[in-house]
């Protein structure tokens, strides 16, 4: 599956990074960077946790 970011909603709260630090991080400007957007197997649970952690519903899995 693929992690999708709605850039118009993302405000850089960073809770997704705390939930899944191996998949995404905030860069020096506070912009979210996906290090791996294609996810499956072992990391799918972490991706789901990151999606659920986003307080403004800016992430989804499709």
């Amino acid at each position: 599956m693929k992690i999708l970011i709605d850039r118009s909603r993302c405000e850089g709260h960073g809770l997704c990074e705390e939930a899944a630090p191996s998949l995404m991080h905030l860069d020096d400007d506070g912009e979210l960077v996906l290090d791996h957007d294609e996810v499956g197997g072992d990391v799918l649970a972490a991706a789901g946790a990151a999606v659920r952690a986003c307080p403004v519903a800016a992430l989804r899995l499709a």
Binding site: E11, H13, G30, P55, V56, A57
Partner: protein, 392 residues
């Protein structure tokens, strides 16, 4: 499955005894159903975690055009980010958060941490004080005033304006009626405020500069400042007061944070989950919608009970226990989705700074009984006398 009408309860959500301690009422309503009709205030209360989270995500069904529980306040909020739906909301929210998102606030962390630490150090040395006045009110008022650039008349009135702005969101009871003139003072001031009224270099000045450049439409700067103050003062005061009361009541939980400061964010999330600063928030149902097997009719007024969802045993194990290691990052106290609290980044900076300072400097806070005053929307402690501080 046959579709039923929601169960009914005679609970008045805004009665004094419910506002003072809503949790027994929340438990009864949650047991009745995910949605319960309350004829006393003619609202449909959302009570269970998943029902609330789904409703907050579904802006197409649950419109924000009726976040308040009386028509006057909804009329007054028309055209604000708080009370509008996408696509208009998307643009307004972007304007509101341009200076308020974690991204925009990154440079403030060290300053806020230092402010919290020096205030806590001063109070520890003093030994006895009122935790609400001296810390829960003093700290956010100073942070928000400095951030937006309030001086003089506005700075003096921030606390009562902030309280009134939340109070008037309730139904048209005596509290609401008495608060409208005070909320009107805030509205009036924000309607006539100019760049010169705000401190040079402040975010407030920056918003006027953006208006002068044409980055945001004419006459929006005052509205943005109105929302910063209306939404950001009373709620943060409640959250910080709750942290102090909870650490006093559960010294073992403070001890856990003292031993492992990495628990600071988790402790804040748990404090927000355990005692939601906001009691009820409105939505208007745009179409007939089925919730947990019961149909709520188009046009109905909904009351979202964040605190009821936060204590839902269907979602959290042992929900009535305050456990800093729980780390409930998905709690509902900031709302969720497109209208999720726009100031949550600032709230986190402030609360984390206070918790860090407490964990560093305090072993135990000994307090007398807390006093609460019923309030329509914000649930907070009014007085909390600290009689002794055992320093770390």
């Amino acid at each position: 499955m046959p579709v039923a009408t929601p169960k009914t309860s005679d609970v008045d959500l805004f009665a004094d005894e419910v506002l003072l301690d809503p949790y027994p009422t929340y438990a009864r309503l949650r047991d009745l159903g995910g949605v319960v009709h309350l004829p006393a205030t003619d609202v449909y209360a959302l009570t269970r975690y998943h029902v609330i989270r789904d409703a907050l995500a579904d802006w197409e069904t649950f419109s924000s055009t009726s976040i308040g529980f009386n028509p006057m306040v909804n009329e007054a909020l028309t055209g604000t980010s708080l009370a509008s739906d996408p696509p208009v909301h998307t643009r307004l929210r972007a304007t509101l958060t341009a200076n308020l998102s974690p991204r925009a606030l990154r440079g403030l962390k060290d300053q806020i941490d230092a402010k919290a630490d020096s205030l806590v150090a001063e109070l520890v040395a003093k030994g006895s004080f009122d935790a609400i006045d001296a810390l829960a009110r003093a700290f956010p008022l100073e942070v928000v005033a400095d951030l937006i650039g309030f001086t003089g008349y506005a700075r003096t009135n921030m606390l009562r304006w902030g309280q009134a702005a939340m109070q008037v969101i309730g139904p048209m009871n005596q509290r609401t009626a008495e608060s409208f003139p005070i909320a009107g003072e805030l509205y009036g001031w924000c309607s006539s405020v100019t760049a010169d009224d705000l401190a040079p270099g402040s975010v407030g000045r920056g918003i006027f500069d953006a208006q002068a450049r044409g980055d945001i439409p004419d006459n929006t700067a005052g509205h943005i400042i109105h929302q910063y103050l209306g939404a950001g003062v009373d709620t943060t005061i409640a959250a910080i007061g709750n942290i102090l009361a909870l650490f006093s009541a559960y010294p073992d939980q403070l001890e856990l944070v003292r031993k492992d400061p990495a628990l600071v964010p988790a402790a804040f999330s748990e404090a927000l989950r355990f005692w939601a600063p906001v009691h009820a928030w409105g939505r208007r149902v745009r179409r007939d919608v089925e919730i947990d097997g019961a149909v709520v009719p188009a046009g109905a007024q909904v009351a979202i009970l964040f605190g009821a969802g936060n204590r839902d045993p269907r979602h959290y194990d042992n929900p009535d226990a305050f456990l800093v290691e729980r780390n409930p990052i998905d709690h509902l106290s900031f709302g969720y989705g497109p209208h999720g609290c726009a100031g949550q980044g600032l709230a986190r900076l402030e609360a984390h700074a206070i918790i860090q300072a407490l964990a560093r400097r305090v072993e135990r806070l000994v307090t007398g009984p807390e006093t609460r005053i019923p309030s329509n929307i914000t649930r907070s402690i009014d007085q909390l006398p600290v009689t002794e501080v055992v320093p770390a």
